[in-house]
Structure formats: structure tokens, C-alpha cells
């Protein structure tokens, strides 16, 4: 394979059925070369998986195709109705939409105050028309739902939909515009395995009607299961392509990172005494995701407890109780056998609980503050950090220098805004902050969501390390593979109830998650 060459040969020679061709696209953001001379083709009815580490440039490439970003160089050609390639005016989402390109964004691009129907039809009608033909729109969407199996309530404000429903609305948006080429950027990052499988089966069905798909994912399982062909980006360059039939995990990983990723190996270990006890804990939340109904839970030292479940079944409430953000309406919380009288984040930190939040950008860091400051944000009372109310800036900087080294947090330096770190490095920053205090208990809520394989493996290794040291870990994840790989014991959360799974049986846990009697 001609790594990074400007004329990297495509594995599949152009055929009449080519519906999309990207020619030598390049894009810089200041000093960052996000894409460097990337060329790709896509055939009719084909599913192409685009792989690469975090920051490899996948989203950027797709954003240029769709017109959000203007390339510094290169061109895009899209086949018209007759299958003839026409060049696409760049930098105009509207032109891309008109040419039949639909894009589902990594981060939802939905207005939450209007309903799904309006989100879907947004931009498809003349703005200055005095009337809308909602009935026609509705029947068209219902037709698409019928054919694709992508069900979503159309009349509810999107703000009240679940993530899975929102994801489907995103796809419906693209299909409504008669997309012949569908770009999906990490569509399953927030879906359960079942939801993901359903989604891909629906999409697969549509490819048989001539839809062509590019999807981006960090989950090799679904890449191998559903794609026809794989293209890999590294540091903004295309470094290879292969037919999925010829690919295996190892080969792909090597192509992505240029080396083998270490497998995380868990060794059996005898658990110690309990570090966290929840007894009959209830939380009265406003929605299902914020509600717990009298759960009992015990985590012991040297133990990773995996909490499996479809998102929105009370994981947030559970995590909020353990991290001190929500006060239980009933029940008891004990850390190391001592009742936490007034739960608060500060009390939990003091009790020795380290928290890795679900939403690392929103809850994990203060983006506008420096890396060093974020490293100490949980221990502002510590005399190492402050004396008499004044910050000890040298100590704070030294601490950060040491931790960025130890935890391999890469970025523009400890004095720079933490916002400038990539998602993976933000997660490492949080890990450093948490592990450095040798917590008795670690709450890891979706710790690898959106991370590439290398970064995800690093998180797993750190969690196992903590367990070895004697910490207890609560691992909440929608990625069943991750739980199966790391957890000593598994519980399933459903409708605000926690149930012991009793085994590592994938099938059985899947059924419990779906609410069927095991």
C-alpha cells in the first residue's frame, strides 16, 4: 500500500457504478493538518467504513464532502440521477443536499424545541411560502419509516426524545432529502448494541435499493459485520483500503495506529471487603433516566462491578447518587461502612470516591481553564494546592507537569486551555486527576465512549490497575463488550431497578437489558 502518497491507488477501480469521488482533498486548521490529499471513491449500494484514530481527520473529510468546511485543495464529484459524475460546488451544504448527499453528524444537529417532523423538513421548503404542506411531508416520512424501519415519534419535541430516537431522526433527515449517498459519523456511539444492530440492518436493507453509505466508527465489531470495504485514515492521510472480507481486527488496528494495540488482560482476583453499599436507594427523577427504585448494590475492594443496560434506564440517577450530584429520596449510602450523611460532590470526593463523568466535555473539565487548573479542581482545599486561600501556582504547575507525563496527556502544554485537548486526551486528564488520589472507589461512567482503540485500551488498563491496588470500581457502560472484558461481576439496570446478572453470558445479559425474563 502506498502510504500517504498523493496517488494512493484505490482498491476498487472506478466503475460505472461509482456514485462519489473525492479527489485529493486537503484541509488545515491553523497548524493542524486535518486532511492531506485524501482521495476516495464510493460505489452504488456499497457500505464503506472509514476508520482512524481520534483526530485522524475522518469528520473533517466528511464535512468537506458535505460543504460545512471549504477544502484548501481538492474536489468532489457526485453522480447525478443518470449516474454521470458531476463536480460539486464546495462549501455549500445546500448543494450537497441537492446532489443527494445526506450527512448524519457526530454531534446531533437537531433543534430540540421543535418536533421531529419539523427537524426533518427544515430547509426543504421555501422559507417565504405562506403555507406548509405538512400532510405531504408526513406521509413521505411515514413511507420512509415503513421502508427503513427507523421509527421515531414525529410530533414530540426532539428535546424529549431518547438518544436512539434522535439518531434515527438524524438519519430520517438525510433520507427525506432523497439522499443517495448517506454519511454516518459515529452513528452508534450512543446506541446500545441491539439498537446499533437494528440500525445497520435497516441501512443494509436500503443499500439494496441503491443507497450508498459511508460510515465512521470506532467499533470494529460493527465495521466487520456491516461494511463492504474499509478505508483507514492516519494523521490526515489515507493509509490504506481493504475489502472487509479480507480484513481482521488485528490488521485494521495495525493500519490505524501503525502498530499492534495491546490487549487488555484481566486476571481473576479475590475481592476484599465492601467499599460502597447502596441499600434500598431511590431517586425520584423527572424522567426515567433520572429515576431509581430502591436499588441495593455492594462493591468490594479488588472488584470491578459492571452495570449493563440500555441507556436511559436509570444509569444517570445511579451515577449521580454515587458522585454526590443527586440526593436519594430514600435509602442509605455507605462508603467504607460509613454512612454519607449529606451527599454532595465534595463529600463524595472527601469520602474517597473518584468519578469519571459520562460527559467529559460538559462535566469533566472546565474547557476555558488550563490543563493544570483542571488537574486540581477537585482538591482546592488541599494545602498542597493552596495556602490561606491563595493558589500555590508553582505547585499546581509541577503537579500538572508530573501527571501529564505519567498519564501521557498530550496537548499544547499544561498552561493551555484544556478545551484545546482532543477528546481522548481530555479523558486522560480526568483519569490522572482521579487515579492520582488513590481513590477507594472509582465510578467510571461510559469511560471509553468516543475513544479510539488505543485510548480505550489505556482506560481499561488503568481501571484494572486500580482494582489490583485494592480499589472498587463501578463501571457503567452501554458497550457490553467492554463490560464483559473488564467486570468481575455484572448487574443489569432496567427501569430504575438493578438485578444481578449472575454470569458473563452475553445472550442472557442482552435479554435482561431488553427486559425479558432471563
Amino acid at each position: 500500500m502506498a502510504e500517504g502518497s498523493a496517488f494512493a491507488p484505490t482498491l476498487f477501480p472506478m466503475t460505472n457504478s461509482t456514485v462519489l469521488r473525492l479527489n485529493g482533498l486537503s484541509k488545515r486548521f491553523g497548524p493542524v493538518v486535518a486532511n492531506d490529499d485524501v482521495s476516495l471513491t464510493l460505489a452504488k449500494g456499497e457500505v464503506l467504513a472509514l476508520l482512524g484514530e481520534n483526530g485522524a481527520g475522518k469528520t473533517t473529510l466528511m464535512n468537506m464532502l458535505f460543504g460545512h468546511y471549504l477544502p484548501d485543495a481538492g474536489s468532489v464529484e457526485v453522480a447525478d440521477e443518470n449516474g454521470v459524475l458531476q463536480s460539486l460546488p464546495l462549501g455549500h451544504p445546500q448543494a450537497a443536499l441537492a446532489a443527494g448527499v445526506g450527512m448524519v453528524h457526530q454531534h446531533f444537529a437537531l433543534a430540540e424545541n421543535i418536533n421531529a417532523l419539523d427537524n426533518i423538513t427544515l430547509g426543504s421548503e421555501p422559507l417565504l411560502a405562506l403555507r406548509r404542506n405538512r400532510q405531504a411531508a408526513r406521509s413521505k416520512i411515514e413511507g420512509i419509516i415503513e421502508r427503513s424501519g427507523l421509527k421515531a415519534p414525529l410530533n414530540t419535541p426532539v428535546g424529549r426524545l431518547s438518544v436512539g430516537e434522535r439518531q434515527r431522526v438524524e438519519i430520517l433527515k438525510a433520507l427525506y432529502r432523497d439522499a443517495r449517498i448517506l454519511v454516518l459519523d459515529e452513528p452508534t456511539a450512543v446506541l446500545t448494541p441491539q439498537e446499533a444492530d437494528t440500525l445497520f440492518e435497516n441501512i443494509k436493507a436500503m443499500t439494496r435499493e441503491g443507497l450508498s453509505v459511508i460510515f465512521i466508527s470506532h467499533k470494529l465489531r460493527e465495521v466487520l459485520a456491516f461494511s463492504d470495504r474499509i478505508a483507514v485514515l492516519r494523521h490526515g492521510r489515507k493509509v490504506g483500503e481493504m475489502a472487509t472480507a479480507d480484513a481482521d481486527e488485528k490488521a485494521i488496528a495495525r493500519m490505524m495506529v501503525g502498530a499492534d494495540t495491546p490487549k487488555v488482560a484481566r486476571t481473576e482476583m479475590a475481592p476484599g471487603g465492601p467499599v460502597l453499599n447502596l441499600t434500598e436507594v431511590s431517586v425520584a427523577g423527572r424522567s426515567k433516566r433520572d429515576t431509581l427504585k430502591g436499588v441495593d448494590l455492594t462493591v468490594r475492594a479488588h472488584e470491578i462491578l459492571g452495570i449493563a443496560g440500555i441507556s436511559g434506564n436509570g444509569q444517570s440517577a445511579l451515577a449521580n447518587v454515587i458522585s454526590g450530584l443527586a440526593a436519594p429520596s430514600a435509602g442509605h449510602v455507605q462508603v467504607d461502612g460509613i454512612e454519607v450523611a449529606k451527599p454532595s460532590p465534595a463529600a463524595m470526593v472527601k469520602a474517597g470516591i473518584g468519578r469519571i463523568p459520562e460527559d467529559r466535555h460538559h462535566e469533566g473539565i472546565v474547557g476555558a481553564m488550563s490543563v493544570a487548573e483542571n488537574m486540581v479542581i477537585e482538591r482546592l482545599d488541599d494545602p498542597e494546592v493552596q495556602s490561606r486561600g491563595l493558589l500555590r501556582r508553582d505547585a499546581i504547575r509541577d503537579n500538572a507537569e508530573r501527571l501529564t507525563q505519567a498519564y501521557d496527556v498530550r496537548g499544547p502544554g499544561v498552561a493551555a486551555s484544556s478545551r484545546l485537548l482532543s477528546g481522548g486526551n481530555i479523558q486522560k486528564l480526568i483519569l490522572a486527576r482521579v487515579f492520582e488520589r488513590a481513590p477507594r472507589l472509582i465510578l467510571a461512567n461510559q469511560p471509553t465512549r468516543g475513544l479510539d482503540m488505543g485510548a480505550a485500551a489505556e482506560v481499561g488498563r488503568r481501571l484494572l490497575e486500580a482494582r489490583e491496588r485494592g480499589a472498587g470500581v463501578v463501571l457503567i457502560s452501554e458497550d457490553l463488550d467492554e463490560i464483559l472484558g473488564l467486570a468481575d461481576r455484572i448487574m443489569v439496570i432496567r427501569d430504575g431497578n438493578l438485578v444481578e446478572a449472575g454470569s458473563h453470558d452475553r445472550e442472557k445479559i442482552g435479554l435482561m437489558m431488553a427486559g425479558e425474563p432471563a
Binding site: H92, L97, L110, N113, I114, N119, L122, G123
Partner: protein, 314 residues
């Protein structure tokens, strides 16, 4: 002494409420459109002044009443455009830009007025809008005086409530404006122009605000005075939240405020000897805060309000 009930039952009280509410209706609708699109427009107080001055001056120069209305709207739109350019493509602080526009619009109006009319001891008058006096309707028992003896501008305000409601809820444009105020990316991803929608909304909203000012000089009164806007614009900023950004509730809020004000002058004339007059002057503001506290829980803000958006940046 007329008691409270008598006041509340009198048609002149309700007519006064609607009259007092009219400039607020224009203002709240204007602020509502801007904020629905995600932009706070604190220029409103100054845009009221510009509307009052330009509307009046156009009529005084012979443009006719509707010419004055157009002139006011155009002037409002112009200052709205300035606010839009500063806050949308340039993404500057909406607070500062707004306060800057208020200062700018007010001082431009005053300076222009004074430079054009350096030597007036009594401001020149125009022939203002008169009550419509629609033949049969005006003679209806209660509704007649309350509704059908208002001026054309009050009717225009009521019409605008319906129009804004219709546009916001029944047209593609309205949906797009709501979407751009909630999540600009949603609009951008569907091929619509975030900048275009926001700028358009601010310009249109500001034109409406200016009509609120024009009402003061062309209907409620017939001349322009320095300081005559007297905080009415700011009140609209409060009312728009009270109204949860809904045109119908905006009308209700403006009427409520107008009713408090109308009640206030009536009670003050009755009870002035017992309670300091200021207690009555404060009442509408205090009640607005109370109403806000009650409404706040359910208020769902346009999520993107105050957050600038740049194309191709994250």
C-alpha cells in the same frame, strides 16, 4: 370614591389598558423575534427612540401618517441591521452591542432632532392617528369603546400578534427561526443560512420595535420629546421572558402590564392621600418580577440565546 370593581368594569379602563399596551405589544413582539433567533437585543430602548423620532419627523416633513410608520420601521430596521452585523457574523457580545445601539440610536435621534430644530420652545405638532370609530362596531356596548375606538396603530399591533404567531408556528420560516435559536447547527446542516436567518430576524424584530416608538409620537401623542420613551423598551425585555417567547402570551403580558399601569393611575387618583404615589408606580414592575418567578420554572429558553455561532468552526 370609586372602588376597584367599578374601575375594572369600566370600559375606559380597558380602553386605556389596550392603549398603554400597544407600544409594548410592538416591542415584545420585536424582542421575541430576535430572541427566538438566538439574539438578545438590548438596543430596544434606543430603537424605540429612533422609531418615535423618525416616524414623527417623516410626518412632520409631509410624508403622511403611513409614510411615517414606514420611516420608523425602516429606521428601526437599520439599527437592527447594525446590531445584527455586530452580533451575528462578528459574534460580538450581545449585551454590549445592544447597550451600545441604545446609546447610539438615542443620541443620533436627539442630535438629529436638535440640529434640525435648534430653536423650538414648544415641539412642533403633527396630526396624529385618530381613533378609527368604525360605524356600527364602535357603538357596541363594552367592546365598542375598548376595541373599536382605538387608532389604526393599535389595530396594527393586534394584527402583528396574529401575523407573528402565524409565521412562527405555521410557516417554514418560523420553524427555521425557532431552530436557529435553539441549535444553529441544525439549520446549517439542512442547508439554510444561519447568518441569513438571524440577521433577518433581528432586522424584522427591530422594525417592529421602532413601531412601538412611533406609536408614542404618532398615536399616543403628536410630538417628539426627549426622554419620552421612558424605559418602555426595557419593560419589553422583561415581558418577553414572561411571555415564554410566545406571541399570544406576549399580548397577554403587554395587556397585563398596561392594565396595571391604567389601574395604577386610577388608584393613585383615588388614594393618593393615603399611600405615596410611588407605591403605585412600582406596582407594575414588582408584579412583573412576581409573574416572572412564577413563570420561570416552565420557561424554556431558546438554548442558543447569547451564544455566537461561526460557520465552519466548532
Amino acid at each position: 370614591m370609586m372602588d376597584l370593581l367599578n374601575i375594572l368594569l369600566s370600559e375606559s379602563f380597558w380602553a386605556a389598558s389596550l392603549r398603554i399596551a400597544t407600544p409594548l405589544i410592538f416591542g415584545v413582539l420585536g424582542a421575541l423575534i430576535c430572541e427566538r433567533a438566538g439574539i438578545l437585543n438590548l438596543g430596544i430602548e434606543g430603537i424605540f427612540v429612533v422609531g418615535a423620532m423618525c416616524g414623527w419627523m417623516a410626518v412632520w416633513l409631509g410624508a403622511g401618517l403611513w409614510g411615517g410608520v414606514l420611516a420608523a420601521a425602516a429606521a428601526g430596521a437599520l439599527f437592527g441591521l447594525l446590531h445584527a452585523v455586530l452580533t451575528v457574523p462578528l459574534g460580538l457580545s450581545q449585551h454590549v452591542s445592544g447597550l451600545g445601539i441604545t446609546l447610539f440610536a438615542t443620541s443620533v435621534s436627539y442630535f438629529t432632532y436638535r440640529t434640525a430644530l435648534p430653536d423650538v420652545s414648544s415641539p412642533p405638532r403633527i396630526e396624529p392617528f385618530r381613533a378609527l370609530d368604525i360605524p356600527l362596531l364602535s357603538d357596541l356596548p363594552f367592546l365598542g369603546p375598548v376595541l373599536f375606538q382605538q387608532t389604526a396603530l393599535t389595530w396594527l399591533a393586534l394584527l402583528m400578534v396574529a401575523l407573528v404567531w402565524y409565521v412562527m408556528n405555521r410557516t417554514a420560516l418560523g420553524v427555521a427561526i425557532q431552530a436557529v435559536g435553539d441549535n444553529p447547527d441544525s439549520v446549517d446542516a439542512q442547508g439554510l443560512s444561519v447568518y441569513g436567518l438571524r440577521i433577518g430576524a433581528i432586522v424584522a424584530g427591530s422594525a417592529l420595535m421602532a413601531l412601538g416608538g412611533a406609536f408614542l409620537t404618532m398615536s399616543a401623542f403628536d410630538a417628539f420629546f426627549f426622554g419620552m420613551v421612558n424605559g418602555r423598551g426595557w419593560v419589553c425585555i422583561a415581558l418577553v421572558i414572561f411571555a415564554s417567547w410566545r406571541p399570544g402570551k406576549a399580548l397577554f403580558g403587554a395587556l397585563l402590564f398596561g392594565a396595571f399601569d391604567a389601574l395604577q393611575v386610577r388608584l393613585q387618583t383615588e388614594m393618593g392621600a393615603l399611600v405615596p404615589g410611588q407605591v403605585f408606580l412600582m406596582a407594575p414592575y414588582i408584579l412583573s418580577i412576581i409573574a416572572l418567578v412564577i413563570a420561570a420554572r416552565s420557561a424554556d429558553y431558546p438554548r442558543a440565546l447569547l451564544t455566537p455561532w461561526f460557520k465552519g468552526q466548532r
